[in-house]
Symmetry: C2
Subunit: 429 residues, 2 copies
C-alpha cells in the first residue's frame, strides 16, 4: 500500500460535510485499506469559521475556498456547498488545478452538468455525484455502470423525502396538505421555506440528472415538466383509494414508444397500491427502473440526511481515489444518443378527472362528447348527485397530455360544468 496520503479538500461543513469529515477520521484505516493509500483531510472551506466543529483540526479550516482548490496538491475536492455559485466556479477551478471532484450538488448538475463533465474530461479527471440523487441509494452508479449493457426505457421514482413524508401523512391520517406540512416542518423533514421541495424543483433537478444518464442524452432542468404537490387534497386521496391507488410525487423519465425522444416530468400521480413505489413510507426514497433485459428493478433507501448522503459521497471518494492511484478515470458523461426531450404535451398516460357539474339529464352525454371530440377515450365514469349539484369522476384510457389539456379547456366552456375539481395522472399500471 502507498504510504503517501491522497489529499482531500472539503468544501462545506454543514450536515453532510461534517459527517464526511467524521467518517474520514473514524474510518481512516478502512478507507486506506479499500483505496490502497491513506486519505488525508487537507483543508475544510466554510463560511463561518468561528462555529465549533467537533473532531476537525481548526488549522484545516479556511474561509478561502478558492485558495484551497488552487493549492495544487489536492487530489480530490468534495463539494457539499450546494447551489450554483460559488460551487460551479470552485469545481471548474479544481479541475484546472489537477483535482478530481465528488459533488452532491443536484441543482448545479441539473443546470450545468454538460459543462462540468466537459471540464472534467478536458482535465482528464473524475466527476462523481452519487449523492446528488436519492441520498444514500446507489443509483447513479447502477444506472451508468451496472445497466450499461441494457436499454433503459423508464425511470420512475420518489426522489424527494419531504414531499413523500407529507403525502404519506395525508394518506395514512386523512390530514390536509397544510396540516401534514406543519408536522413535517416540526419534525425537521421540511425546511422553513419548503418551496424547493413542495413545488417539485428538487425532484425536477434529480429527474434531469437521471434522464440524462438513463438515456445517454443531455437533459437539463428546463427540459423537465414540473408540477408541485401543494394542491393535492384529502378529497384526491379519497378518490385514489376508490381506485385502489395512493398518491405520490413522482419523477418520471421515459423513452418515447418510437425510441426517438425522451420526456422527463415531476408531478403528483395516482399509483396502484400494488405497485412497489406505493409502499414507500415516510421520508424514504425509491426509484423504479424498467429496462429491456433486466426488466423491473427498484432501489430503495433514505433519500437525504447527513449520514446517508455522506455514505454516497464517501463511496465516490473511494472510487475516485482508486482511479487516481491507477492513473485512470471512471466513466464520464455518456450523451452519445443525443435524444431530444419532447414537451409535456407528447407524454401519454391516463388521467383521473373530477368535475363539478349540474345535476340534470344529458350532462354525461355532453361531457362524453367533449372527450370523444379530443380523441380521449374514457375508461370509467362515476356520477354522484345531491341537491341539484353533482360530481362526475372520469378515468381515461391512455392519451396524450396535449389531448387531455384540450379536453379540459373545452369542458370548462360547457355551461353544465361548474368547475374542474382536480386532474391527476395515473401511473404505474
Amino acid at each position: 500500500m502507498r504510504t503517501r496520503p491522497l489529499k482531500v479538500a472539503l468544501l462545506g461543513c454543514g450536515v453532510v460535510g461534517s459527517e464526511v469529515a467524521r467518517i474520514m477520521t473514524t474510518h481512516a484505516d478502512d478507507l486506506a485499506a479499500r483505496i490502497g493509500a491513506p486519505v488525508e483531510l487537507a483543508g475544510v472551506a466554510v463560511r463561518r469559521p468561528s462555529r465549533v466543529r467537533a473532531g476537525i483540526d481548526p488549522a484545516l479550516v479556511t474561509t478561502d475556498a478558492t485558495a484551497l482548490v488552487k493549492r495544487g496538491d489536492i487530489d480530490v475536492v468534495v463539494e457539499v456547498i450546494g447551489g450554483i455559485e460559488p460551487a460551479r466556479a470552485l469545481i471548474t477551478t479544481a479541475f484546472e488545478h489537477g483535482a478530481s471532484v465528488v459533488s452532491a450538488n443536484k441543482a448545479l448538475l441539473a443546470q450545468d452538468g454538460a459543462a462540468l463533465h466537459a471540464a472534467a474530461n478536458q482535465a482528464c479527471k473524475d466527476l462523481y455525484y452519487e449523492a446528488a440523487v436519492a441520498g444514500a441509494i446507489p443509483l447513479i452508479r447502477p444506472l451508468r455502470e451496472s445497466l450499461a449493457g441494457d436499454k433503459i426505457n423508464r425511470v420512475m421514482g420518489i426522489v424527494n423525502g419531504t414531499t413523500n413524508f407529507i403525502l404519506d401523512k395525508m394518506d395514512t391520517t386523512g390530514a390536509g396538505y397544510q396540516e401534514a406540512l406543519d408536522e413535517a416542518t416540526a419534525l425537521g423533514y421540511a425546511e422553513a421555506d419548503p418551496t424547493a421541495d413542495v413545488e417539485g424543483f428538487d425532484a425536477a433537478a434529480k429527474a434531469a440528472i437521471l434522464a440524462g444518464i438513463a438515456f445517454h442524452s443531455r437533459v437539463r432542468l428546463d427540459d423537465v415538466y414540473r408540477e408541485g404537490m401543494t394542491e393535492v387534497t384529502a378529497a384526491d386521496f379519497a378518490s385514489a383509494k376508490n381506485m385502489g391507488c395512493t398518491i405520490k410525487l413522482l419523477a418520471i423519465c421515459e423513452r418515447a414508444a418510437d425510441g426517438g425522444s425522451v420526456t422527463a416530468r415531476v408531478h403528483p400521480a395516482m399509483i396502484p397500491l400494488t405497485h412497489p413505489l406505493a409502499s414507500v413510507r415516510g421520508a424514504y426514497n425509491a426509484v423504479f427502473v424498467e429496462s429491456d433485459a433486466a426488466g423491473q428493478l427498484m432501489f430503495y433507501g433514505p433519500g437525504a440526511g447527513g449520514a446517508p448522503t455522506a455514505s454516497a459521497v464517501l463511496g465516490d471518494l473511494v472510487a475516485v481515489c482508486r482511479n487516481r492511484l491507477a492513473g485512470a478515470t471512471g466513466p464520464g458523461e455518456s450523451a452519445y444518443a443525443a435524444l431530444p426531450v419532447s414537451p409535456m404535451g407528447e407524454v401519454v398516460t391516463r388521467y383521473h378527472i373530477s368535475l363539478d357539474v349540474a345535476d340534470k339529464p344529458g350532462v354525461l352525454a355532453q361531457v362524453a362528447t367533449v372527450f370523444a371530440e379530443h380523441g380521449v377515450s374514457i375508461d370509467t365514469v362515476r356520477q354522484q348527485g345531491k341537491d341539484g349539484e353533482a360530481s362526475l369522476v372520469v378515468v381515461t384510457h391512455r392519451a396524450s397530455d396535449a389531448s387531455l389539456t384540450g379536453t379540459v379547456e373545452a369542458l370548462r366552456n360547457l355551461d353544465t360544468v361548474r368547475g374542474v375539481a382536480s386532474i391527476m395522472r395515473v401511473e404505474g399500471e
Copy 2:
C-alpha cells in the same frame, strides 16, 4: 473512438449465453458508444454444436473451449457455463492468456473465489461477476463500490426466486409445500431436480459471495449455515400470520455486535409483514442492506432468467472493456479485514417454537423452567388445548442459536412434551 474491436469469447450458450450473444448483436452500436470501441463476438464454446443457435454465425461455434480461451487475442471471456469444472480451469487459463473474465458462476465463486481473484490479480486482469448474485439486480457493484466508504453491518435477502415463488404461493393460497413445488415446476420456475434451490445450496453460495464483499473478508460456501425450506408447512404460515409475519427463505450475513467476527446463514424465517422483504412476490429477489451511514437500503428485481442475467453480464462486459481500454483494472478482491466466520451457535436471534404437549396442569411451568435454565428468555406463550392434547407456541426474546438448541434438546426429554412441531427463526424486527 477506437475502431479495432475488443474480442469476446463466450463460454456457454444456453439461456443466458444466447441472450448475451443476441444483445451483443442487436445493440452493437450502443455498446460500442458506451465502451469507446466496438465489441466483437470472437468465439462461442458449446457442448452441443449441432443445436441451432439463432443469430450466431456457425463459424464462431466450437466445442473446444480451452483452445478458445488460449487463442491469445481474446480481450474478455464471458463464462456462463456454471458449475465448478471445467469453468474453473477455463477462467484460470483465460487469465494466463491475457483475457479479463466476466462470470455468472455463483457456485465457483463461493467455493473458490479467493483463488480466482488471486489469479486475476496476478495477471492484472478483471474478474467481474454481478450476475452471480440476484440476477439483474445491481448488487455486487453497489456493495463493493457505492458502499466502499461505509460500514455494512447486515445483508439480508431473498436471493432464490424458485423458493420465493413456492413460499409466496403457500402464503397466498394456503397450498402445502409439495403442491406449490409442483406448480413452480409446471411453470418452469423450478428445475426437475429442485434440490439446489429448495435445500438452500444456491442461496448459500450467494450468501458466501455477499458476506465476503460486505465484510471485506473471505467467506466460503462451507462457512454458511444452511437449512432448506422443504419442511415449511401450511401450519407454519398460519402461525406466522398470527404473529403478523410471513415466511421467506433468507440469506443473512451479519457482523457480530462486537465487530470481531461475522456469520452467514440461509434458512426459512418469519419476517413481519411490514418489512420491505415481506412484500417481495413470486420469483422476484430483493436484498436488504444495513450500514452505519447509509442506514437501510433495498435492491429489488428479477433474480434469474436469461435476459435479466444477461443484463448483469453485459453491464460487467462494458465495465471490463472500458478498463482494458484505459489500461486499468476495477476493484479486485477486498479481504483485508479478514474477519473470522463464527459458527451458527453464536448467531443471536428470536425463535418461534411450536410444541405438542400433554394437556394437563404444570406443563407450562415445566417448559418455562427449561427455557430459563438455558438462559433463553420467553417473550410470549400461547396455549391451546383439546381432548387431552395441547399445543404450546413459544416466542423467545433474542438468544444464541446454541442456547436455543440446548433448550430444544431438553424439551424433547420432558415427558409432557410429545414433540417439537416446528422451530422457526424470527428476523427483521
